[in-house]
C-alpha cells in the first residue's frame, strides 16, 4: 500500500487521499488507519524514495575518484529521481524541511555534504563557502533546473548541463 502511495503521490503530489486509497485497493479510512494524517503519509513516501536514492547513491561509489566526479555522480542520481518523482519538488515536501523534519531526506544531503568536505580539504573545491550552504545551494539550483524543464523553457539536457556548470562554479571547482 505504501507502494501505491509512492506511485500516486510521487507523480501527482496533489492527489486526494481517496485516489491513493483506490490505487491501493483499499478505502480511505484504511489509509487513515495506517497513516493518521496526510503529512505523515507523505513523510512515509518520502522516506521510501529516500531509501531508493541512498541505494542508487551508494552504488555510485561516491567515495572513490575525484570529488568533482563524485559531485557530478550525485547530481546525476538525484536529477533522475527528481524527474521520476515530482513530489520531491512539491511544496508539501519542500516546505516540510523547515517545520518538523529534516531527518527524512537527510541521508541524501549528508552524502553530498561529505563529498563537499572531502573536496574542500583536498583543495578541489574552494573553502570559503560552508558545506551546509553549498548543500542548500546545490539543491536550490537543482530545483530551479527542474522547474525550467517543467515549464518548457529548457530541455532536460540543457537544464542538466546548466546545472552541472553552475554548481561547479559555485563550488569553485574547475580552476587551474
Amino acid at each position: 500500500m505504501l507502494d501505491a502511495a509512492v506511485e500516486v503521490l510521487g507523480r501527482q503530489p496533489d492527489a486526494k487521499l481517496e485516489q491513493v486509497a483506490e490505487a491501493a485497493g483499499v478505502t480511505r479510512q484504511t489509509v487513515y488507519a495506517h497513516y493518521p494524517s496526510r503529512p505523515l503519509l507523505v513523510a512515509a513516501v518520502v522516506d521510501r524514495i529516500t531509501a531508493e536514492a541512498v541505494t542508487a547513491l551508494d552504488a555510485a561509489a561516491l567515495d572513490s575518484g575525484t570529488s568533482t566526479g563524485a559531485l557530478l555522480a550525485w547530481l546525476e542520481v538525484t536529477w533522475r529521481l527528481f524527474d521520476r518523482y515530482p513530489l520531491l519538488q512539491h511544496p508539501s515536501v519542500t516546505g516540510m524541511d523547515r517545520s518538523d523534519s529534516d531527518q527524512h531526506h537527510a541521508p541524501v544531503a549528508e552524502r553530498l555534504e561529505r563529498l563537499i568536505v572531502n573536496g574542500q580539504t583536498a583543495g578541489e573545491f574552494d573553502r570559503d563557502l560552508s558545506p551546509a550552504w553549498l548543500v542548500s545551494a546545490t539543491v536550490a539550483l537543482g530545483h530551479a533546473a527542474g522547474v525550467e524543464v517543467a515549464a518548457g523553457r529548457m530541455t532536460a539536457e540543457e537544464a542538466s548541463e546548466s546545472l552541472r556548470h553552475s554548481v561547479l562554479r559555485v563550488y569553485g571547482a574547475g580552476r587551474a
Copy 2:
C-alpha cells in the same frame, strides 16, 4: 483595501480571507466582490509588491556603473523585499510561476536579465550560461538563502554574504 491585503498576506501568506477582510474593515463578501478568488487576490498583492520593487530597483540606477555593482544592488533590493514579504517565498506565489502567470513579477526579472546581458557583452560576466537560466539560478539561490535564515541555520548576514558570493561565481564574475 489592497493595502490591507498586502499587509496581511504579505506577512502571513496562509491568512484566511476573513482576516484580510477584517484588516480592511470590510466583510468577506466584499473582498470577493473585488477579487473573485483567492489566487486573483494574491496576484493583485504580488503586482503591488512588484511595483514597489520596480520603484526601488529603478532608484538604484542599475544601468550605471559596473554590471557587477548593478547585480549586487539588485540582490540587495530584492533581498530586502523578500524578507519584508514572506509571501514571496510562499508556494502560492512560487508555484504560480509555472502555471498561469509569469507576467506578474516579470519586470523584476527583466531588469536582472538586462543587466546580465550587459555584463556578458561587456565581458564582465561569462557568456556560456544563458541569461534566462542565470535569472532562474539567481532567484533560486536567493530563495535558498531566505530559507536558511528562516530555518535559523544562518544569520541574515551570513546568508546574504553567501548569496552574493555564490551568485558572482555562477556568473563567472570576479576573475582576473
